[in-house]
């Protein structure tokens, strides 16, 4: 439905057929603290995000999945390694350049508190464009709103929306700039399973039908099963990789990860 009414932008660096990388992280190291309290959150992560795919990042608590997402999304600086987004080396950018990059080339969906309380749904959706001083593309906006079923809620403020509606508004905002990558951090974490699955189905369609690259951090195997590919992190490194995952394969891979991890600690 999306593809029929709105083809992917021709100039976008996202060829629909050949899976070229949208982002490449190599040898990324991030440590917190010093000396005895030092924690290596990322310990030389290598990861390639293919364009036009929904990639899930999984791993146990403390595996570094959130840190990796923050680093790749330009929210946090890293200590070593390289992160390339399209043709841009993120680690070379200043704070201000990273802010502009987030505004123009990335989209975000967080677990909760995705919306500015004082703005209506429509204003929240248009926020990144307005910040950049651009006017929203009317057709594209209308299509996003229709597809996400938000037509009736546009003038409502976040406090007047259900949790599912709030997350859908967040997704619309993330997509409105046609970003190179949408980063979603546990987007269904606060939703019941029905609303959660509807949101995941939409993210999946955005990737498959629209060629939208989506990176989703999750600890929920069901959520991960909607992805084209699952990357597993453990102890700050990429530990495993699964294409076309299902809930059982995800669960099995996770079970396999936790044992060596605990053995290594012992």
């Amino acid at each position: 439905m999306l593809t029929t009414t709105h083809p992917a932008p021709a100039a976008g660096p996202r060829p629909a057929t050949t899976p070229a990388p949208a982002a490449v992280a190599s040898g990324v190291v991030k440590t917190y603290g010093h000396g005895t309290t030092e924690v290596r959150a990322l310990d030389g992560v290598d990861l390639t995000i293919s364009a036009g795919q929904l990639t899930a990042v999984m791993g146990p608590s403390g595996s570094g999945k959130s840190t990796l997402m923050h680093a790749m999304a330009g929210l946090d600086a890293v200590d070593a390694g390289s992160i390339r987004l399209g043709g841009t080396e993120l680690t070379d950018l200043s704070e201000k350049q990273r802010t502009l990059l987030r505004r123009e080339r990335l989209g975000f969906v967080f677990q909760s508190f995705n919306l500015v309380p004082s703005l209506t749904a429509a204003e929240n959706i248009a926020l990144p464009l307005r910040l950049a001083g651009r006017t929203p593309d009317g057709l594209w906006l209308e299509e996003l709103v229709t597809t996400l079923g938000l037509q009736d809620r546009l003038t409502h403020r976040p406090s007047e929306l259900s949790g599912g509606q709030q997350q859908r508004v967040a997704v619309a905002r993330a997509l409105v700039t046609r970003p190179e990558i949408v980063f979603a951090d546990e987007p269904t974490g606060n939703l019941d399973s029905r609303h959660g699955q509807a949101l995941l189905a939409f993210l999946q369609r955005a990737a498959r039908e629209l060629g939208q690259t989506v990176v989703m951090v999750t600890h929920d195997p069901t959520a991960a099963s909607y992805a084209d590919r699952v990357v597993f992190l453990a102890d700050g490194r990429a530990a495993n990789d699964l294409t076309d995952p299902t809930v059982p394969t995800v669960l099995a891979t996770m079970a396999g990860l936790e044992q060596p991890a605990s053995r290594a600690e012992a």
Binding site: H70, A73, L75, D76, E95, K96, T99, L100, R102, R103, E104, L106, F108, F110, F113, N114, L115, V116, P117, S118, L119, E123, L127, P128, R130, L131, A132, G133, S159, R173
Partner: protein, 845 residues
């Protein structure tokens, strides 16, 4: 719970820091004002007590009253024979005759004009006088003078120099010594010239008369006995007073002149306290709402609602006590600051070590604590209503109070309705005093309606900012989102600005009214007035004679002022010459005639005649210091506007004045230039003729008219500067609530930053919000202040000829001050928001 309270205050030091500062500032103002008043009172008392230290009683000419409006009345001199008569009485040890008056000091041809008196007195050695010779010797022969050390120091005069002293005549004197006053070097604000008794009598034209007798008593009699004996011998024509009573009366008179300043300071302290209280209330409301979960948790753990209330009040008590103690300490500095400020606006106060009385300390601390605790009561009650179950809820939505019930809404609308009704009633003709409660009700009413008004107003004033981009829009939304908080933050500033606007409108209207009626009534080409702020004027009658003799002048008319007792109250009157006045003033008599004044009657203003139902032919009783109760016949009724131009509602002739007053100084000499002589030329001639009268100001009619209401202008200036302090406190309030709001909106700001809002945009957002709140305050403040000012003038205009003047420039300045306050208040919170770390912000739960 005390333990928890203490912990809590310590844990949230930052949140309470500005609240503490507000308490400190308000209390500093209060204690500074009190200390300044105490200090001035003590210094004046010391001064008069020192002067009378070695004397037991004084004998002066009798007067019906000692002082009026802070001016000691002049008394007739005592004849020489009284000296010997008193000396011969039993119980009298010694008698020292004194001649004193005014004598302007001139050093090297330059007049030395002090802020206070130019004292000229005969020198009395100790124990009679408080002046002790510190250098040189006492004046004994004619042509010798002793100056006070302070004046000598300031003017560079040394023993052996020659100076001039101007009385009715000019006397050249040689300085033979320098004296101190008590422990000090002189009398603050005054120049002192001491000469021999004979010289003083000559200079003051007393013949062999004296001003007063200083008497000491023998040891075998009490002072009271001797007073009774002297009184018995001299009769009612002389006033015999104990030296202590005379000193007290003198101090009281000086104190009364400071009365208006006291009132200004008290009113301004109250304003600072109210604004401070609003800030405190606001902070506590915000902090409590931010701690709802914590409070719920404590409640869930078993704390009673009462315990929670008491904990919040205890926090307030703690902050109030700390702030009050600090503020009281700073009051000592503030007292000096206020004195400098007052003198900058022409109100001279005696200078000296600050007096800190127990009552000042107690009042300041009590007021500080009370205001803080009372301001926190609302927040404490709301805290008690937090349900334990809230601890379990995950949402941390911004709580700005639930929508009020219908009954509540009606109750909230009541004050505004009452206030507006009251104001309308005053406009329609109700007594002006009704305006005070009506204005209060209106202010409270607007504050209560804030939650309804603010969203609309905030959107309106934020419109220009919103057009500038997303940060402006976000700021506007944010201000409108928490209307109660925005209102109470803005209200504090609005109150300060409203007071400034009110004072400006009323004072400007008064001033314009005064100079307007003067311009219309006084047609003189030139007006000679004293440049010193003396209540009765203070021009020597000689000045009028000199001017009248000039060929460039066609004629002059003198005006003198005097005080009299009108039943219980002190009143003023003007003495004029009915023959010459019409030449220089256009007086409109509604009944009777000005000429009839020559018969000894009185002319009253129309407003007074109406108020008291007086007509030509009626008789009024006026009490004069010199002659006591006198019945005067009303011979005319003067148009009120014309009476206002002459500053009084009662007119007598100069002859009548001379009969009832010892004083003989002119307040004004109005001059008509000779035909064909340009005003400038006449002015130059008059100036030259008055070269010997350095305090005489020669003004043309327009300048003289503009100088009317100079006092009003001075008071307005002082009040405005003092009100700026309340604006400062209110500004802290904006900073405080924004800082708290930034802390509260950490996640929102983090989100904005994550989706691409730059630091600059975040800063501009918070800064804009501060400006919106301030603009809102400016709007409310100007509307309330100007409105109330206009209504006040309307009410006053019923009894005095006044018109509303809206000083656009000054009111625009108030609006600019508001915006400036917003900009400054927003700086710190905006910077803090911009510096916020994105990751930490989005990770905060």
């Amino acid at each position: 719970m005390w333990h928890l309270t203490l912990r809590n205050v310590m844990a949230h030091r930052g949140r309470f820091a500005l609240t503490l500062l507000a308490v400190v500032l308000a209390v500093t103002f209060v204690s500074g004002s009190l200390m300044l008043t105490d200090t001035s009172a003590r210094l004046l008392e010391d001064q008069f007590t020192t002067a009378a230290a070695g004397v037991d009683l004084t004998v002066r000419d009798a007067a019906t009253f000692d002082q009026a409006m802070g001016v000691e009345v002049d008394r007739d001199p005592l004849p020489a024979h009284v000296i010997e008569r008193v000396r011969g009485l039993e119980g009298v040890a010694d008698v020292r005759p004194v001649a004193d008056g005014q004598g302007l000091l001139e050093v090297d041809g330059e007049a030395v004009v002090p802020t206070g008196a130019s004292m000229l007195s005969s020198y009395s050695p100790e124990p009679f006088g408080a002046f002790a010779i510190r250098e040189g010797r006492a004046p004994v022969a004619e042509g010798e003078v002793v100056l006070d050390l302070a004046t000598a120091g300031q003017t560079g005069v040394e023993v052996g120099d020659r100076v001039d002293v101007l009385t009715e005549s000019r006397t050249e004197l040689q300085v033979v010594g320098l004296a101190g006053f008590g422990d000090g070097d002189g009398i603050p604000g005054a120049t002192v010239t001491l000469v021999s008794l004979a010289e003083a009598q000559k200079m003051l034209d007393l013949g062999d008369g004296v001003s007063e007798l200083l008497v000491t008593t023998t040891r075998d009699r009490t002072v009271e006995e001797v007073i009774a004996a002297v009184r018995g011998d001299l009769g009612d024509d002389y006033a015999v007073t104990s030296a202590q009573d005379a000193a007290d009366a003198g101090a009281a008179a000086a104190q009364e002149q400071l009365g208006s300043l006291d009132m200004v300071l008290t009113a301004m302290s109250a304003a600072a306290l109210v604004v401070g209280a609003l800030l405190i209330a606001n902070t506590f409301a915000i902090v409590t709402s931010q701690r709802r979960r914590e409070i719920a948790l404590v409640r869930a753990a078993g704390a009673t609602a009462g315990q929670v209330t008491r904990a919040v009040l205890a926090e307030a008590l703690l902050i109030g006590a700390l702030g009050a103690v600090l503020g009281t300490g700073l009051g000592i500095l503030a007292a000096d600051g206020l004195r400098v400020l007052a003198s900058g606006f022409g109100m001279e106060l005696p200078q000296g070590r600050a007096t800190v009385t127990g009552s000042t300390v107690a009042v300041s601390i009590a007021v500080g604590m009370l205001v803080t605790v009372v301001a926190a009561v609302g927040a404490a009650r709301r805290a008690a209503h937090v349900a334990p179950v809230e601890a379990l809820r995950s949402s941390v939505d911004l709580v700005d109070g639930a929508a009020p019930s219908r009954r509540h809404r009606v109750a909230r609308a009541l004050p505004l309705a009452l206030g507006v009704t009251g104001v309308a009633a005053v406009v329609a003709g109700a007594p002006a005093l009704l305006l005070v409660p009506a204005a209060l009700a209106t202010v409270v009413g607007v504050a209560l309606q804030g939650p309804a008004l603010t969203p609309v107003l905030a959107r309106a004033v934020g419109a220009p900012l919103a057009r500038s981009g997303v940060p402006g829009q976000l700021a506007r939304q944010s201000a409108a989102r928490a209307p109660r908080r925005t209102t109470s933050t803005a209200m504090a500033l609005a109150l300060g600005l409203a007071l400034i606007a009110f004072m400006t409108v009323v004072a400007t209207s008064l001033k314009d009214g005064l100079s307007g009626s003067y311009r219309e009534t006084v047609t003189a080409d030139l007006v000679v007035e004293s440049s010193r702020a003396e209540m009765l004027g203070g021009l020597s009658p000689q000045a009028a004679e000199r001017v009248a003799d000039l060929s460039q002048v066609q004629g002059v008319s003198r005006v003198q002022y005097g005080h009299w007792i009108d039943g219980e109250q002190t009143n003023a009157l003007a003495a004029i010459d009915p023959e010459t006045l019409p030449m220089v003033a256009d007086l409109d008599l509604l009944a009777g005639s000005l000429d009839a004044l020559t018969g000894g009657g009185v002319v009253v203003a129309d407003s007074v005649a109406e108020e008291r139902d007086l007509q030509v032919g009626d008789v009024v009783t006026m009490t004069f210091s010199l002659t006591g109760d006198q019945d005067l016949e009303i011979v005319g009724v003067l148009d009120s506007l014309d009476a206002q131009a002459l500053s009084t509602s009662w007119l007598v002739s100069l002859e009548t004045y001379a009969r009832h007053f010892t004083e003989d100084v002119d307040a004004a000499v109005m001059v008509r230039a000779a035909d064909g002589i340009p005003v400038e030329q006449a002015q130059a001639a008059v100036r030259e003729a008055l070269a010997d009268h350095p305090t005489a100001d020669v003004r043309d009619q327009a300048t003289a008219a503009a100088a009317r209401g100079a006092t009003v202008q001075q008071v307005l200036g002082l009040v405005t500067v003092l009100l700026v302090l309340t604006v400062l406190i209110a500004m802290l309030g904006i900073t405080n609530s924004l800082a708290l709001s930034v802390a509260e909106r950490t996640r929102e700001i983090g989100l904005l930053r994550a989706v691409g809002t730059s630091r600059r945009q975040v800063r501009s957002m918070i800064q804009s919000e501060a400006v919106i709140v301030a603009a809102l305050a400016g709007l409310l403040g100007l509307a309330l202040g100007t409105g109330m000012g206009a209504v006040t003038v309307t009410a006053l205009a019923r009894t005095a000829p006044l018109a509303i003047t809206l000083p656009a420039g000054q009111l625009a300045a108030v609006a600019l001050v508001a915006l400036g306050a917003g900009v400054v208040a927003g700086l710190a919170p905006a910077r803090r928001a911009a510096r916020m770390d994105v990751l930490e912000a989005i990770a905060t739960h």
